[in-house]
């Protein structure tokens, strides 16, 4: 099997910041077409394509667009979430560094369809190279009148500015990101109101992932129904997969939805280094589930991922071989979230430390049956009651491993009384 290059078709083939080279490979065709379409029919095309958010949660994009289009309060904002902080994910960085104009085009089409006039790209603080490329691409797009006043001699105005934080993970959460753009510390807000109602500067705002916007020009160019032909019923189109860990090859690969995980690992990853056995695979990133080897025939598909109740859809596949202790992995994960929690709500602020203490006991073979109960209960409570996505998804590694690696837990219990 080879990659299905739709989003990544220009990767490495053009000077990423050149408007001419981008246009020569189909770039800006979508925008040119969109500008002569009815605004509503652009959203209808997106609806037909059934594009779902590529940031992980998989929220249907047309619903967000419709929500924003319906708001009468102006100005409206379009935000591109490029705060790719999830460990194991590097696809957004690839798009920004290799085809930034596709993001600009996608955002501009979205803005035109929804009546937004201002845009922000919020780029992760560590992505300095991506920021520079993006900046140049924006300059060039502006010079070529793909951004700015009266785009293509229409009365449509739209411009994009770059914003960046200091590298806090939680700023990838939509409201924390909005707070950060406004100049405040990245802490989420209470929902409702949702961003499409009251987002940045309390104005209607649509916020989506880099890859989502990169899909928009493709959909407009080829048509929503054509787009939907690729993939599975619940997940249309292609997906950039970030493969990392103990595979021979690592990197970003574009595949249609529906391909089994094992196929990605074997064919793109070229198998496991030194022919070791796979112990576990973490999907989506640090906030994703840890699954055992026997589940790898599972297809990459939003519907299939929904059972994990996590942001599995971001597309990371982290492969770990049999040298690794699951508790070391979980401990690292939880430690990461403990450090990145904003501290606003109780379950996330206080819960991670307690999870860490409990997992430490399992790692050191000092746990009791009671600890197992506590761990399970605490992880679920955090998942169900945390204020934002961080605390809701961070216990996923624990919840999933309790399901698929329960024996490992029991093994670490000092004198299990009843199994």
């Amino acid at each position: 099997m080879t990659e299905m290059k739709v989003i990544s078709k220009r990767f490495g083939k053009i000077n990423p910041v050149s408007v001419e080279e981008y246009s020569s490979m189909g770039g800006f065709a979508g925008l040119k077409k969109a500008l002569y379409m009815e605004r509503i029919s652009i959203i209808e095309e997106v609806e037909k394509s059934y594009l779902r958010g590529r940031g992980g949660a998989g929220f249907p994009t047309h619903i967000k667009m419709m929500g924003l289009a319906k708001e009468t309060n102006t100005p409206k904002y379009i935000i591109c979430n490029a705060d790719e902080g999830e460990p194991g994910n590097f696809k957004d960085r690839n798009i920004m560094e290799k085809d930034p104009l596709a993001i600009i085009e996608g955002m501009t089409i979205t803005a035109f369809a929804t009546g937004a006039t201002e845009g922000y790209i919020y780029i992760r603080g560590e992505y300095q190279a991506a920021m520079r490329t993006m900046f140049e691409a924006l300059e060039n797009a502006r010079k070529a009148n793909y951004l700015g006043q009266n785009i293509f001699k229409t009365n449509f105005n739209f411009d994009i500015r770059i914003r960046s934080g200091a590298g806090s993970y939680v700023c990838g959460e939509e409201f924390a990101l909005i707070e950060s753009i406004e100049g405040r510390p990245g802490r989420t807000r209470v929902k409702p109101p949702f961003p499409t109602q009251k987002g940045v500067f309390n104005q209607p705002t649509m916020i989506s992932n880099v890859e989502t916007y990169a899909n928009i020009p493709v959909i407009i160019t080829m048509g929503g129904s054509e787009f939907r032909k690729v993939g599975t019923p619940s997940s249309a189109g292609t997906k950039l997969i970030c493969l990392s860990g103990n595979t021979n090859n690592k990197g970003v690969f574009e595949i249609p939805f529906g391909v089994p995980i094992r196929q990605v690992i074997d064919e793109f990853g070229g198998g496991i280094k030194n022919n070791r056995k796979i112990k576990m695979v973490q999907l989506g990133g640090a906030c994703g589930p840890i699954i055992p080897e026997y589940m790898l025939d599972m297809k990459i598909d939003y519907e299939r991922f929904e059972e994990f109740e996590s942001k599995t859809g971001a597309g990371a596949i982290i492969v770990m071989d049999d040298r690794f202790d699951i508790f070391e992995i979980i401990l690292k994960t939880i430690h990461f979230f403990e450090h990145e929690s904003c501290g606003k709500c109780v379950p996330c602020r206080e819960g991670h430390k307690q999870l860490e203490l409990l997992i430490r006991k399992f790692r050191d073979k000092q746990a009791t049956m009671k600890d197992l109960d506590s761990l399970e209960s605490l992880a679920r409570v955090m998942h169900q009651t945390s204020l934002c996505g961080l605390g809701q998804t961070s216990p996923t590694a624990i919840i999933s491993s309790l399901r698929y690696f329960r024996d490992d837990y029991i093994d670490r219990i000092d004198h299990p009384v009843n199994l």
Partner: protein, 585 residues
């Protein structure tokens, strides 16, 4: 209307109602912690979670609005377990040494743990002890008890617009503190104490000074006197288990006598005196082209707010001391002379609804001899309540007793000082009659009463209509000050009180002050006013007498020395104080 079911009880509530309020309307209790009426909903504690049938996660009932056909369960095992777990998590990072905490038995976290039946610490304590900030005269901030609910930030920001407290750090090391972990005193705090009155636990408390009072009382060489502020008479009962808004003036006098105070006086007396001085100052400013609008000066929180944030309006503020300090000055001069004792042997205590009064008493300007404080110790209503409990006094059943003389005969005008608009009303009752030389027909100036943020009224003084305004909370004071700065203020006289509702909502009042409670205390104060024989300050015979005997005339030389003061721009203290000078735990 929206139809829904909570715990199988069908109900119908207005659209936009939160689940929490819908439940409340139908007598279903959902425990809460960070939620406080009147403050913003921040959903930080997550204690009020409930289950909605058909949804996977739990939602916070304080922030989720009802929807048609919703079926909500507030007490399923999943919900109870979540609530319990969350509370246990809070306890794991809280200095839960409850017996050694002033909030013992009135702590909302303690109460919550009790309701949820938490009987063991499931999660080990991860508390890292931090230094305590008690480097100011009014408040003690103990970060070890802080549960980061955010109420203090909200009250400081949205009610008072002072913004001293903020979140610092993240994750478990997140703290609520003045910027850069400084002292409250270094960070433009006005010491209004509203944070202490909304704190659910004992993380911000008034500085307890009851020990000093006990010590003075047992010191044979001291004559200990106490003054009782107007607002105390309608709130102390609450602190001691009586109904909200109970009028307990006579019981307070009796209890204070039992505690052992030699003289029990009424701050109302010097409130009347304030009206005479301030009223005359207003007339003087109007007739001599002085700085207008004139602003009241009885509220120390407001004065320090103006000194820090609006030094431009300092010339507008009346030079009168507050009633508390007028009392202190007279006690240490007039009364000491009258008794023929050394003023240093007089120990002046006041009981105030206020934490900023502690700061005011320590101001260098408030010392007639230039050295010793005129008012030695200020107690809040809560502290006095504690003393009465300590002495085993059954407050409720005490017989009424009258205040001692000479500072005991007072008027209705003085009593309403405790309510927003009260000083204005009292002043107008006097100024109107002095200027117009005819009796005021309707003595109840209802335009300036009530809990509206900024109130306006017009009075005819000497043939011209004069506009006056009344503002409470510092956020409203800010609006008034901005008008003055811009030169657009249409008023001649403005009353400003720091706390919502005036002193009856003060930072030193019993816990749990909400609009409903404020309303009850307000009504009680106007009842006190209504039944008084004398309701105008200038008709107070004791006031007439003190001018004859001692002060000679309003704004006279003696008054100037004893009853008036001046203000300074408050500079930010830039000296970097090391953290380790703070009292450590």
């Amino acid at each position: 209307m929206v139809n829904l079911k909570i715990n199988n009880t069908p109900m119908s509530v207005k659209e936009g109602t939160t689940i929490l309020n819908a439940a409340k309307q139908y007598n279903i209790k959902i425990p809460t912690l960070c939620n406080y009426p009147e403050l913003h909903i921040n959903s930080e504690c997550r204690v009020c979670v409930v289950e909605i049938e058909g949804r996977k996660g739990l939602v916070t009932s304080c922030s989720t609005q009802v929807q048609e056909g919703m079926h909500i369960i507030t007490n399923s095992p999943r919900v109870i377990n979540a609530r319990k777990t969350i509370t246990e998590l809070i306890l794991s990072n809280h200095d839960a040494n409850c017996n050694a905490c002033a909030k013992n038995m009135s702590c909302e976290l303690q109460n919550l743990s009790n309701i949820l039946g938490i009987d063991q610490a499931r999660f080990p304590s991860v508390l890292k002890l931090q230094p305590i900030d008690d480097n100011n005269p009014s408040l003690v901030r103990n970060p070890n008890r802080c549960i980061k609910c955010g109420r203090c930030i909200d009250v400081c920001k949205s009610v008072q617009s002072v913004n001293v407290l903020e979140i610092m750090g993240r994750g478990q090391s997140m703290q609520i503190t003045p910027a850069f972990g400084r002292y409250l005193s270094d960070d433009f705090c006005t010491f209004c104490g509203q944070c202490s009155s909304v704190c659910p636990v004992g993380a911000i408390l008034e500085k307890d000074e009851t020990d000093k009072v006990w010590k003075a009382m047992h010191d044979e060489s001291k004559r200990v006197m106490i003054q009782v502020a107007p607002a105390v008479r309608v709130s102390l009962g609450e602190e001691l288990g009586m109904a909200q808004g109970s009028i307990v003036t006579g019981k307070i006098v009796h209890a204070l006598k039992l505690l052992g105070f030699d003289d029990v006086f009424d701050t109302d007396f010097t409130a009347d005196l304030t009206i005479i001085e301030e009223g005359n100052e207003l007339i003087h400013r109007v007739t001599n082209g002085g700085v207008l609008p004139m602003m009241t000066s009885c509220c120390p929180g407001w004065v320090s707010f103006a000194e820090t944030y609006y030094p431009e309006v300092l010339p507008n503020i009346s030079s009168c001391k507050s009633p508390q300090q007028m009392f202190g000055a007279l006690a240490k001069t007039y009364y000491a002379e009258k008794l023929g004792i050394n003023p240093n042997d007089l120990y002046v205590v006041s009981v105030m609804p206020c934490t900023a009064k502690k700061y005011e008493a320590q101001r260098p300007e408030m010392r007639v001899d230039g050295k010793n404080q005129d008012v030695d110790v200020v107690l809040t209503v809560r502290e006095l309540g504690k003393m009465i409990k300590q002495m085993g006094i059954n407050f409720d059943s005490l017989e009424d007793m009258p205040f001692d003389n000479p500072f005991g005969i007072t008027t209705g005008a003085a009593a309403i000082f405790g309510a927003t608009g009260g000083v204005m009303e009292a002043a107008l009752r006097t100024v109107y009659e002095v200027v117009n030389k005819k009796p005021l027909e309707n003595i109840n100036l209802t335009d300036v009463r009530g809990l509206e943020g900024i109130k306006e009224a017009t009075v005819n003084l000497g043939g011209t209509d004069v506009k006056v305004a009344v503002a409470h909370t510092l956020a409203n004071a800010r609006i008034i000050c901005e008008q003055i700065k811009a030169g657009t203020s249409p008023y001649a006289f403005i009353e400003i009180m720091t706390c919502p509702g005036g002193c009856i909502g003060g930072g030193g009042q019993p816990y749990g002050t909400t609009t409903a409670v404020r309303q009850k205390r307000l009504e009680a104060l106007y009842t006190v006013d209504g039944v008084m024989k004398i309701r105008k300050s200038h008709e107070n015979p004791s006031i007439v007498k003190i001018y004859e005997d001692y002060l000679v005339k309003p704004l006279g030389e003696k008054s100037h020395h004893l009853l008036h003061t001046h203000y300074h721009k408050r500079h930010h203290d830039k000296s970097p104080k090391e953290k380790n000078v703070m009292a450590t735990y």
